[in-house]
Subunit: 220 residues, 4 copies
């Protein structure tokens, strides 16, 4: 089956106590399926989720700096020490400069952290793939939070992104995102060649988060 | 006596296990003096320091957003829930837009968080004071990390900042920073009218952090 | 009468040949009234408007740098050399860091350029006023481009901004903006204590720009 | 022979009257050699240089926006209307987000403007090349302004960048930059496979700009 990364964003329903509750749901559902399900909470919630739950934890962003005089910045080294698995990089709500994406992807390799570089179209997916991250995650910005699944609305963008990414670097895995919440859309994404999905509101803002996640992975 | 806030920045010596060790030192030294000593570690180290040590914890920055679709951003609400006392705002290494400083100062008041707005000269100190934060912290950028104490090199900037801040809003407390590490410089800052100091490398990068802090507060 | 500054933004109707046409309209209307009417086109259109029309030209932004290795940045010195009168600073679509606003206001004084610092509420108006610019221009962001005039929708924000600005520095002149296009709203702004208005879409995107400007100043 | 683009940056020696003087030198030297020599002055100097001199003019940056409510932003459309040939994109002193580089490269194609995307190493050169700009210009940041020519100090970075760029897209032309000022270094760059060079201080800050440019192209 596929890869599922849930971005908690700065949603109230994915912050603080709610982040812990959602991480617990992910742990439980995860134990019943073969899919790999990871969570991406905000920095402040990462340590407690890492220590309490058996689930891989990603950051939503890391800063392109090394240790030093950089007030407020989060280094990949500390993220690693805190037990995170990796991080999203260049999310559409936190776009990075090309040189910084490259810096982070290289550093993640050294530290054995998993890099998930977000992109917005076929051309930027090819460009990101040239940097050899572990994953690229293509999310057409106009569909983010829309409830319209990219795998249904723009299947060709998924197929072409997979092709573009693998043409440049066949090791890179490809996620797709934006608007995905139903099992059918998830399966369609896999059928189109994606290795998995990146999602947020479909689960985090669902009235019943557990039910939403069970539906996504086909348990209901 | 005075207020001392120690900014751990992204220094290796103030990150991860080293952050915990330094927080423990602060707790211990703090118990022996009347000065108020608080720490400002990176986001990932905040929760563990809050739960393990009897010391007030500040963030180094908070984002000017409310709950929502803001990947990677840290809200004041979550910071509060995690037990932090407040945050630095507009540090010279993370300057903010004027409208965002105002947004954060207002929000901190609602949430009973302590706001420490950093400034770089007399004019910006007056401007920040007009927003009515709890503290303004004046740090001439050219002296940050220089080892040259602002209270000795530019006493008039401390005096004039205190005057400018209190002229605009007499409730605002004033810290000064940049280059301070010795007891004498700290006392001079208080004599010049400051309510305390904001410092970083003088303690965090000291060969013996405990000794450095004890010297700062006059225990040696 | 009052001060009117027209921000051409990056509107198609205020760019290139259209910028020249609009500047000509401003020159013509300006000659018939006692109001001071200035234009703020994009950088590329500034030199030609300065050389062809008898109208004061402001930039929409200047960078907080001095001459040096700053690719793409525009210095106040070059702006001055090109014949501009001054610049907007900190417009809501180009918010600046507090330290940079202060840097620019100081530099404008040295160069005898006119500084117009934009703000978003009463508190930031007081803060900006503490930096002693020539003008502060208060524009509630929620009304920008709304067609709802700030002088009618939130008269108290205009009055309170004028009071807050003058309390801090009685030399500072106050403009208000957002949603203003009719003569009545302009006059109301002046009656509320403002020295003038900053506007954009009301004139630039009007079907008949000349008619719109004539109406604004009461010629129709 | 090769391509030479001279970035005037915000250097005093390449601003205002000095920009005009330098553009005139470029026009004159250019007429004596087969090399293609273009200039990249700041926005305010572009219109006058375009109208007065027979030399191709590039901007140092363009904003990733279309016409609209974007105070201070420069659109590619206006740049085109003003007679510029193209623009640098993503210079190390004005790094852009990956999605914005892609936006600009696509837009430049539609408008028949020439895109020169700056990069900092082999990996980002490959990534930029995947976006199919007209040129990529590789400049190792540590050598910019150093006086140490990249073609001598790091010949392999030039060769590998050329190879990486052409592997991804064989149509893309490759410039190299950083530290180049002598004819020998320019020729070495061409020998290493580059199509030309991007330079700045070597010419703009030379004591005798004309002599420096003549030396670069081998006229002395």
């Amino acid at each position: 089956m596929g890869v599922i990364i849930i971005n908690f964003k700065a949603y109230r329903e994915g912050s603080g106590k709610q982040a812990l509750k959602l991480a617990e749901i992910v742990e439980e559902v995860s134990s019943k399926v073969d899919d790999y399900i990871a969570v991406a909470p905000n920095f402040l919630d990462i340590p407690e989720i890492v220590s309490k739950f058996n689930v891989d934890v990603f950051a939503q962003h890391v800063d392109a700096v090394t240790f030093g005089s950089h007030t407020s910045r989060i280094t990949a080294e500390v993220l690693k020490e805190k037990g995170a698995k990796g991080s999203l990089i260049n999310h559409s709500e936190r776009r990075l400069r090309l040189a910084d994406i490259d810096f982070l992807v290289s550093k993640f390799k050294e530290l054995s952290l998993t890099s998930v570089v977000c992109t917005n179209n076929v051309a930027t997916t090819a460009a990101a793939s040239a940097l050899s991250p572990d994953y690229v995650a293509i999310e057409p910005p106009e569909l983010i939070g829309s409830g319209i699944p990219v795998s249904k609305a723009e299947p060709e963008i998924v197929e072409n992104s997979v092709k573009a990414a693998k043409d440049v670097n066949k090791e890179v895995m490809v996620l797709c995102g934006a608007g995905i919440s139903k099992h059918e859309d998830y399966i369609t994404a896999l059928d189109l060649g994606a290795d998995g999905v990146l999602l947020a509101s479909g689960i985090v803002k669902a009235e019943d988060q557990k039910k939403a996640l069970e539906e996504l992975v086909g348990l209901r």
